[in-house]
């Protein structure tokens, strides 16, 4: 099958917006920090590097003759542009020890690595059959990584071993495990598609079939263990949510999903009663003002960041987001909301909605059932993750330690998310029309 290389014009045109944003934003940040209006081209280095990487991506997709969707990449690039700007803005205000470079430099480096990961993914994954055949390999890899991290991982202050320490850099395998899980589930559920959609009668009850029930119970158990052992409500919610979404897409039975959600909620409610650490999270969610200088400091300062943002925001570089503890990962959104105002923050939420909607729109039109299921799973990884952490930031849910896709500081999540985008781009080729 030969295809002629076609310029991805629409994508290129849309990429002008994030490119311009990165230039203007970066200049604003530097000038605001120095308090003057003189500038030189060297101030724009970071943005120019970013723009070159973005253009190379566009070119790479053209060279590989990828007939992929042209809206996905601009949305993702816009979000990562905001993440990059945030890291440039926060970098000099945060003092760190024991890291190989400042936050600003690290995030730029991670972003470049993430782009390379995207290129490699797009180049390698030409046929999804291979991915499908390897489904149990993914499962074993996911399990192996999780166990390895639990045994040999280090605790970076969250009370759970979630990281692998490699000297200057630390990896968070949990991020990759999400993708591996989706890869496995897509294969497994697609195999048992017919069975899952059926049901059988035991006395007066209609029960879901075993291939449905067994993984459901297993996933439920694993998620609850994550809550209890790692105090990681966010990841548990995320894993279970991805699983439910994929199950629902395969089975089309809302009752099973509702049942799963209820079981999860019940287990969380029990965990709240039994484990004070989990309960504490809920307390500072409901009333952080009770201890504004202790454990409630983070949400209270985030509330203040939001409030000071008002409509137009303080302006990039003019706020004081560093007042929020662990702002670069946990409260990246609050930091942007302070400086971009409610107009900016609602626009960011709009970008995530656009990303999810575009992803699902692509997925619906894919005929190949495995690829469709896989892309829905991948889109829901991004969507649910964004939703859970955003909800935590605005105190719709308790705050959890998961990252905001493309914006939060952190290499593991950035690279993983770009791999997801690569897979989605390739999957979009299978879409009709």
């Amino acid at each position: 099958m030969t295809r002629e290389a076609r310029l991805r014009w629409l994508e290129l045109q849309l990429l002008v917006v994030p490119a311009a944003t990165s230039l203007v934003g970066l200049l604003t940040i530097y000038l605001a920090r120095r308090g003057e209006t003189r500038w030189s081209w060297s101030d724009l280095t970071v943005s120019l590097v970013f723009i070159v990487a973005v253009l190379l991506t566009n070119l790479w997709l053209t060279v590989l003759r990828v007939r992929a969707d042209q809206l996905l990449l601009p949305i993702v690039v816009m979000l990562s542009c905001l993440g990059l700007l945030l890291s440039q803005r926060l970098g000099p205000t945060i003092s760190e020890t024991g890291v190989w470079a400042s936050l600003s430099q690290r995030q730029l480096a991670y972003l470049l690595v993430a782009f390379v990961a995207l290129w490699i993914t797009v180049a390698l994954v030409r046929r999804f059959d291979v991915l499908r055949r390897l489904r149990y390999t993914w499962a074993v890899a996911a399990l192996g990584l999780t166990v390895f991290t639990m045994l040999f991982g280090t605790d970076l202050g969250s009370g759970a071993r979630l990281w692998i320490d490699l000297g200057p850099i630390t990896l968070q395998p949990g991020e990759l495990v999400k993708v591996l899980l989706v890869l496995f589930l897509a294969g497994y559920l697609d195999d048992h598609r017919e069975l899952i959609a059926s049901s059988y009668q035991v006395g007066p009850f209609r029960l879901p079939p075993l291939p449905y029930l067994v993984p459901l119970v297993a996933m439920w158990g694993i998620s609850i263990l994550a809550v209890v052992l790692q105090n990681d409500l966010g990841n548990a919610l995320l894993l279970f949510g991805i699983f439910l979404v994929m199950l629902y897409v395969v089975s089309g039975r809302p009752l099973y999903v509702a049942g799963g959600l209820l079981a999860f909620a019940a287990a969380v409610a029990v965990a709240l009663r039994l484990f004070p650490r989990v309960d504490q999270r809920v307390q500072i969610w409901l009333d952080p003002w009770a201890k504004p200088s202790g454990i409630g400091m983070q949400p209270v300062q985030a509330d203040l960041a939001f409030a000071h943002g008002h409509i137009l925001g303080a302006g990039l570089g003019f706020g004081y987001p560093q007042a929020i503890p662990v702002v670069a990962t946990d409260y990246a959104f609050a930091a942007l909301a302070e400086e971009l105002g409610s107009l900016g923050s609602v626009a960011i939420v709009g970008l995530y909605v656009a990303l999810v909607m575009r992803g699902l729109f692509i997925a619906v039109r894919i005929r190949h059932s495995y690829v469709r299921l896989l892309s829905i799973g991948l889109v829901s990884v991004l969507g649910l993750q964004a939703l859970i952490i955003l909800a935590g930031n605005v105190r719709l849910l308790p705050l959890t330690g998961i990252t905001l896709p493309f914006i939060s500081a952190g290499g593991s999540s950035l690279i993983t998310n770009f791999i997801i985008v690569g897979l989605l781009l390739r999957a979009s080729e299978a879409a009709r029309g």
Partner: protein
Amino acid sequence: MWRLVQTSAMLASLLLITYGVLRTDDRADPRWLLLLAFVAVLWSVALWPRAPLARTARPVVHVGLALTVGFGLVAIQIVRAQLLDRERILARASDPTSGVVDVRRYLGQRDAVRGRILMRDGTIVAQDVVGPDGQRRRVYERASAAYLAGYYSPGLFGATGIEAAYDDVLSGQAVSNWRTWLDGILHRNRRGNDVVLTIDPELQELGQTELADRTGAIVVLDADSGAVLALVTSPGYDPNRLSVPLGATREDIERARAYLRSLEEDGRGPLLLRPVQGLYVPGSTFKTITAAAAFEFGIAQPDTVYRDDGALAIDSRVIIEQNRPDPSRVSFTVREAYGYSLNVVFAQIGLQLGSQRLEAMARAVGFGEAIPFDLPIAPSQIAGTPEFLTSRVGIAETAFGQGQLLVTPLQMALVTAAVVRDGTVPEPFLVQEVRRPDGSLVESRKPTTWRRAFGQGTAAQVRDLMIWSVEHGYARNARIEGAVVGGKTGTAEVGSGAPHAWFVGFGERDGKRVVVAVVVEHGGSGGQVALPIARALLEAALAPR
């Protein structure tokens, strides 16, 4: 049909949100979260796809719907945090008791020159000065008035006094016209406006010298306008040692913090602005209020005669009279009883009045209420417990100024002002003008009356008493050549140590009317300790310039 259901679901969700925002204060209030759950259901109904879907597409569309509703709820929370609840959140954080550090309030210092704080003649109290290291810091010039400005210390995340109360004006955050709004948006360097105090530097200085190292407070008011001419507290503190700019060295911050801690732990309470926040037993100065009540409610006239034979037994308590000028005299008019400060007579008047009328008069002059003022004040109290005034002893003791009374010097000055103003209490103020850096006026304070304390007749009669007290009574030393002076001394017994020395009074000359209240803690006799200070201040305030 379906269309109608969806439209009404959307409308119902909007109504629910409005109701929720009005009824709840916080975004994580469980009631509000429950409401959001209902909103989510309504939105799902409103956005449910109307067109028939393919079997494979249906679940995917539902997933999209669920995520969209979720992001919608996030958007509502954002709008609440950034727009609707904004004022509530900021107000909550600026409450000093909340324990919240709102750093962003002090960021203005980084890019805007803060306005100056001046006295009425232009003397600088506080201004921004750029040091040799290029760092701008807040400098307080006049030690005698510096504590009125309070302190502004971004490094310590704190501000008090005028610096805190007028922060919007001084920092340039206050938007007075479209130009300042535009400057704010464009991050142009702004300079805050100047705040001009009503304080007369000479009087303030004089008050400080008179009190010297004694603990006490002085208020001097212009009776006609309510402008505060001097507001002296002792001991004070040096705000310069507390003002630390953002980005100061750790050493500087630690030094300032240590000083603040030493001030907080100092038993004499140097951080307390005594004239408006210090609560004292008023002693005999309260007889002014008892007398006003007696005249107002028709219990007695200045010439009504009472018997005072040196002691009065009330229930189980015997009040001993120590103040009679001549131990052989047993009958005194109210005028004489006031001038000689006879406790036995005022105990009798108090009992005749009863608790209700006595309390009514105290409330009429402002007791129990926050006096409207530019700085935080403490309200004066007539009794600590409501039961106290149900006993006859309690009423009698209150009537001559002991009991459970606790008053601020400002409150006593306002009572005196009502006496010379035919019964109306002025609204006291410390800030007379706000001016732009170029000197042009932004706003100036218009004197207003706070409330009516008592009738014109009563005011005239009490004024007569106060003048008699200076002309013939124990306040004789307060006389000033060429001026009409009235006043009342007070020697307030306190649990331990020497009594508090009090003097409240007024002076009138050439149409100028000034009132003064002085208290010296554990100073001893009011006539000997507080009176000379008050006289010096009255004389200086009335001196022709």
